[in-house]
Amino acid sequence: MWKWLHPYAKPETTYHLTGKFIPWFAILSVILMSIGIVWALLFSPADYQQGDSFRIFYIHVPSATLSMGIYVGMAIAALCSIVWQLRLADASAAAMAPIGAVFTFISLVTGAAWGKPMWGTWWIWDARLTSQLILLFLFLGVIALHNAFEDKVMAGKAAGILTLVGVINIPIIKYSVEWWNTLHQGATVSKMGKPSMTLEMLWPFIFSYMGFIFLIVTITCIRFRTEILARNGMRQWVREIAIKEGS
């Protein structure tokens, strides 16, 4: 069963495979996102309560949920690297960390921009906002630990351990923050309930969500390839690529 996976443990094979995938993912992402965003911004109905400012939802929610997904992806890669000693899993985790941090940041910024007209403030210490902020700190910690080591193999292992510790902690932090918030604030801030979506709103959301997924996959592949090249700089095949592309 594992036999067909074996060739891809070799960096060169994986490098060329991801190179073939990137255009497809990129095209899919562009198509889905342009359909989703254009539909969402121009044609889908405005929210009856929030009006047009509701439309930031189509960017905010995908980036927020997927940032959490990227952390889980990183943790799975870290587990694979620790258990099966896969070097490439380290490289993929290293590739994903900055992307996750950026998407977490995007979700915080869009959330603040949405919060200003809706809640009248850029920031409240709401449970979701707080746990998203902490997630950003966790991402930044993993990146900082990665950069602190000279040796990339050591860096990957250390960051992997930290990622796994973090993934155990994420649910604990999330629930403790939720609990903290309900204790301190009560129902003074009228939190927006989950909007019951009509199909006209749901479809553009699905398109833009899928578009975001493929965007992340595309960027991950690009960064993954760069990581592979950086780690195998002394190998013959990398030199050949460098000579071919450089000339």
Binding site: A148, F149, K157, I161, V165, G166, S176, W180
Partner: protein
């Protein structure tokens, strides 16, 4: 040393029981710490100074101070633990004895646990004795003293255990201090939340056993899981 004597020596050390190994490391770490008393006293002084800064910054109003006292005490405890964490593995890493410990026939789990316990005895325990004094300075509600002591008693070992993971990861790095705080502080958040809310609840004369139970659960899960993370991190750091 002759061959047979060396063999005997190896057999003797291998025969050291888990408990004896634990006690040996514990005694060694405590002795070492008492030879450098500054390392023990400075974090405690830091704890005291940080807490005295808050009334100066916020104003001497007793109502405000008693409202924010639990948070101040706990945040100061987090920071002073963070300051003292460096001592946990650094000197042993620098003189190579850490590597010898990892090579010893005993499970690393035991050795790591002994070192963390020694760290808690030298930094966490003194905080528990000083905290009530500082609570008086901050006009903490009278009902809250029991909760403050209990949360510190259950919570400070968690700080040492989680902190050890961060130290083990950064021990090989030259300037690990600032990095350590970035790695560790987000993981301290649950302890902070539940401890301060337990103290707040106690101030209102309500039962706070729920929060204590959660801190206890956090304590036991970190007690069982953190040493594994620490030992694998040490293996990475010592390469």
């Amino acid at each position: 040393m002759s061959d047979s004597a060396a063999k005997l020596h190896i057999e003797q050390t291998a025969a050291l029981s888990y408990r004896a190994a634990f006690m040996l490391i514990l005694k060694r770490d405590i002795t070492l710490a008492f030879r450098h008393k500054d390392d023990v006293i400075n974090p405690i002084l830091f704890f005291v100074i940080v807490i005295t800064l808050f009334p100066l910054g916020i104003g001497p109003d007793a109502n405000i101070l008693s409202r924010i006292a639990p948070g101040i005490i706990w945040v100061a405890a987090l920071l002073s633990t963070l300051l003292s964490l460096d001592r946990l593995f650094k000197s042993d890493y620098n003189d190579g004895s850490l590597e010898q410990m990892l090579l010893s026939p005993h499970p690393i789990f035991i050795l790591v646990l002994a070192k963390i316990f020694a760290h808690w005895l030298l930094t966490g325990l003194p905080l528990i004795f000083i905290a009530p004094l500082l609570a008086v300075l901050l006009h903490l509600n009278e009902n809250s003293y029991g909760a403050l002591m209990l949360t510190l008693l259950l919570g400070t070992p968690i700080l040492s255990l989680i902190g050890a993971i961060g130290v083990a990861l950064t021990v090989g790095i030259k300037k690990g201090g600032v990095l350590l705080s970035l790695l560790i502080l987000p993981l301290y958040i649950p302890v902070l939340i539940f401890a301060t809310s337990a103290i707040d609840t106690a101030a209102m004369n309500l039962p706070f056993t729920g929060q204590l139970a959660i801190i206890g659960a956090l304590f036991f899960s970190t007690l069982t899981l953190a040493p594994f993370a620490v030992s694998s991190a040490l293996k990475v750091s010592t390469n």
